[in-house]
Each structure stands twice: as C-alpha cells, then as structure tokens.
C-alpha cells in the first residue's frame, strides 16, 4: 500500500485541487472557474509549435501597400466590425517623414480620396503606408492580463477572444502594446483581428489578404516550408513591431522603415 501522509490515502494533488477549488469559491466572485486553470496554461504560450501543427503567420510588404484601404473595407464586411471610422481590426497608417526629422503618423480613412497636396510640400522627405493589425503575439500580454480567461491562444497560435466570457473590463485593450483591440459597442466585449479564423480553418485566406490588390499582405503556415508565407520570410529582411517588448509578434514586415513604431 502506497504511503500517504493523509488519512484515507488521499494524494497530494487531490488535496491541492480540493483546496484550490475551495478557496476559489471564497475568493472569486464572477470568475469562479477561470483563475486556477489559466495559470498553468500561460506557461505554454509562446512555446515552439510541434511539427505538423499549423502555426499561422502574417507578412506585410510595406513597399507594396498603396493605401487603398480595400483591406479595411473587406475586414469590416467580413467580421461585422462597426462601420464607424474609429473601430478597426486592421488599419493602415500613413507615415510622413519630414526633413527636420519629425515624423507624423495618421491612420487613413477608407473611401476618402487621397490627399495629393502633400506632393507639393517640400518639407517632406519620404512618405509611405504601413498596414497594421493584431500581431497574434506568441507571448501575448493581452492573454496574461485577462482576469477571466476570455482571451486565449489557440493551438495554431491565433489569439482569440471568447465573447461569451469576456466581461468587457478593457484590461487587454490597455495591455496590447500595438493598440490592436477595441471594445465592440454592440457586444460590449473586446474585439480584434482573428486572422479571420473562420476562413483560415476552412482553407480560405483572411479577407484582407484576399482583396489586397498589390499582394502587400501574405498569409500562411509558418511550419510549411513551401508556403508563400515561408517564402516571404526567406526572401525578405524581416522586422517585427516593438521587438524589445518580447511579445514575439507573428506579423512580419518587409521593407520596414526604421521610423515605424
């Protein structure tokens, strides 16, 4: 008979689970089940994906983007993003670098004619568009801060929001260093780019990749050596946004200017 420190032959784990369960009742109000089981899963986040498992990544060729905003339009139609101009899952920023060293960044609006007046502005050194979206970080700060475990990472590396358990506390919106999230005014839950999870799990491309007229956006499985995505990574010098934060973004930029934050 195995020795057990507890009367009745209980095991350490059994008793721990029991105590944890018990204290969770005392301590947590709404988030009853969530807290305890999230903690161990967090350690898994960011681990190298097993072979044969999809691990999705996204590529952006900055020098190809023409700022046509087709991607923003498509994303709004595909994902029921509110039409108001301040809710976006993906957006495009116009960078203007001036000769005096200052840089202005402004998100462009879809269906607005571009402003050619910048053409005659002699103080402009360089100007270009940078598409942005949720970076689907391998170590996502938004997952760490969610108090109810509503934001989580799938096995294929996509960070999703469970709208049934999201309590709309906005912690994740604060925590995301890329400003990729917003609070959906209809559902009152956090919303963000999902890499069009409903499309990619059926073998389709994300809507923005589908419509981008210049192939500025690339999508694919990072584990597949012959996918356009892997080729994109091989053929370009790749940067990610804010690498110093160790969020390990999976949106990879080619031809990224040093000014881009």
């Amino acid at each position: 008979m195995p020795l057990s420190p507890f009367a009745g032959g209980g095991t350490v784990n059994g008793r721990r689970t029991f105590l944890r369960g018990f204290f969770s009742v005392l301590l947590s109000g709404g988030a009853i089940g969530g807290i305890l089981k999230i903690l161990p899963s967090k350690a898994d986040a960011g681990e190298a994906p097993p072979k044969g498992q999809n691990w999705y990544g996204f590529g952006v060729s900055v020098d190809k983007c023409i700022g046509c905003a087709r991607c923003m339009e498509a994303c709004k139609s595909e994902n029921n993003v509110p039409r108001e101009p301040f809710f976006f899952r993906t957006w495009v920023e116009r960078y203007i670098l001036r000769k005096n060293g200052t840089t202005t960044v402004k998100a462009i609006a879809p269906n607005v004619e571009p402003s050619p007046e910048t053409a005659s502005d002699k103080s402009i050194l360089r100007s270009f568009f940078v598409p942005k979206l949720c970076n689907q970080c391998a170590s996502p700060p938004c997952v760490q801060v969610c108090p109810v475990g509503a934001t989580f990472q799938t096995k294929d590396g996509v960070v999703l929001v469970n709208e049934n358990t999201c309590i709309g506390c906005r912690y994740c919106i604060q925590a995301c260093p890329y400003g990729a999230r917003y609070l959906h005014p209809g559902t009152r839950t956090a919303d963000k780019c999902t890499f069009c999870y409903h499309r990619i799990s059926h073998g389709l491309l994300p809507a923005c990749v589908e419509v981008c007229p210049t192939q500025a956006r690339v999508f694919g499985d990072l584990n597949a050596a012959a996918s356009p995505m892997s080729r994109f990574l091989r053929m370009n010098k790749i940067h990610v946004l804010k690498p110093g934060l160790n969020t390990e973004p999976k949106v990879y930029y080619a031809s990224l200017d040093g000014e881009v934050r």
């Binding site: 089940g33 899963s41 004619e113 571009p114 469970n162 409903h198 419509v211 981008c212 210049t214």
Partner: protein, 252 residues
C-alpha cells in the same frame, strides 16, 4: 459528536456549526450547481474556437468566381489586374455563389472607384500607375477607356512617340486616347526615312470629324462622343482650327 463540541465554549461551537454549514453549501454550489463548462476554461476555449470557426464567410475567394466566369477569369489572368481578387472590386460574393440569380455582387462604375487605388498619392510606391483624377479625362467613367479585366495604359506606337513625344503624352490623357494615330493620319512608310520630305496626311474636311461627332455619326467608338450639327456648328472652319485634336477640350 456532542463530546467534541463540549470541548469548546458555546459561542465558538455555534460558529463551527455555521462554518460547516457554509462549507457544505459552498461545496454543493461548486460541485453540483455550477455547470462544468463554467469551471473548465479549456472547455470554454474549445467552445469559443468552434463558435469562431462556424461564423459565416462573406468573401468566397477568387477560385470560386472562376468556376462560372471562366472567360473573364482567363482574360484577367494575363493582364495587369491578374493579381487582383475579383472581390477586391466586386465586394463580398459568398452570397452570390450560393444564390447566383438573386444575389448580385456590385459592379462599381462610379468614377470615384478606380482612383482609390490609382489617384496620385505621394505616399504610394514609385512606379505604381497613378493619375490625377481631376485632369485625367474628367467626367468619363474609367471603363469607357480601360477594360477593367484587362486594363492597359494607352500606348502610342513607338514609331510615332519616339519623335512626337509631346503629342503622345497629351493624347494619353485626352478624350482621344483610344484613337490610333493612323485613325486620322495616313502615314506613308517613307515618312520614317525622310520625315520632312514625306509627311503624314491630316484630316482636311469637316466630314472627317463628323464621322464620330456629326449628328448621325455611327462610329462604334464614338457612342459617347459629343455630337454637333455639322450644318450649324462653325461652318466656316475645319474642326482642328478651333479644337486641338490631340486634346480636344469641349464643354460637356
């Protein structure tokens, strides 16, 4: 049991009873009342993934368009728009693939549509084909000159543009962009050898322009051309004495 409580002062004993009662109620709530999916976050995530995967798709993807519209698909495949998905311009079309007769994708015809990509914008990459929508054939719909499924920038034959570059550039953004140089000029081979001795012809009669612009002009290319009554409109002159033919300016 009674003995057990007698060891405590009375108030403490009551407290213990209350505490035990709360414990039982608490356990009952946790184990029985709260449904399992609420306690198991893995389960919640699996559900969320399933919900996410089940959401309806709105963009069908360019392959599905080719299944029915194979002629257009083939045309597009070799042109400058070959990398465009059909839905880039025609909008989400999943509904159309499911019910082709009742759900129709949009066909953008308004002039503001193409400039979203092709209007001059200094932030766009160099070399991307851009025009200034204000001066580039204003008021005309883009598709009246360019086939959207196989767009080509208008070209002037190199034989002509090599010497007549300015005319080629002007014509390229004028209403006459679609016209070949040889539509109006008969160009003898000899002109290329000794350009000053052998000159191309110029239209000499009002009837020449009248083929398209006369009231009963039937030319296919001139469907939308402004029409005038040759008998009443500036009888005394040949047309190009008032209108520069490589960039005709007319009030619309």
């Amino acid at each position: 049991m009674g003995k057990f409580f007698e060891r405590f002062p009375d108030p403490l004993a009551r407290l213990i009873v209350v505490f035990l009662a709360m414990l039982v109620v608490g356990l009952f709530v946790v184990i029985v009342l709260i449904p399992k999916p609420m306690k198991d976050v893995q389960m919640q995530w699996a559900d969320a993934v399933k919900r996410e995967q089940a959401r309806p798709v709105k963009y069908a993807g360019f392959r599905s368009c080719g299944e029915c519209h194979d002629a257009l698909y083939e045309t597009k495949k070799t042109g400058y728009h070959r990398d465009l998905s059909c839905e880039t311009c025609h909008g989400p079309a999943k509904g159309h693939t499911e019910d082709p007769d009742n759900v129709k994708p949009v066909i953008p015809v308004e002039r503001a549509f193409c400039p979203q990509c092709h209007a001059y914008d200094p932030s766009r990459p160099r070399g991307f084909p851009m025009i200034n929508p204000v001066v580039h054939n204003p008021l005309k719909s883009c598709a009246s000159c360019h086939n959207p499924h196989d767009p080509k920038p208008p070209t002037t034959p190199r034989e002509c543009s090599a010497c007549h570059g300015e005319i080629a550039r002007t014509k390229a953004v004028s209403h006459h962009v679609q016209l070949e140089c040889t539509t109006c000029h008969k160009t003898p081979q000899q002109h290329k050898v000794s350009p000053r001795a052998v000159k191309p012809t110029k239209p000499q009669t009002r009837e020449f322009c009248g083929k398209c612009h006369g009231k009963e002009g039937k030319d296919r290319m001139a469907k939308n051309a402004p029409k005038i009554d040759l008998a009443e409109h500036g009888e005394k002159y040949v047309c190009w004495q008032c209108h520069y033919p490589h960039s005709p300016e007319v009030e619309q």
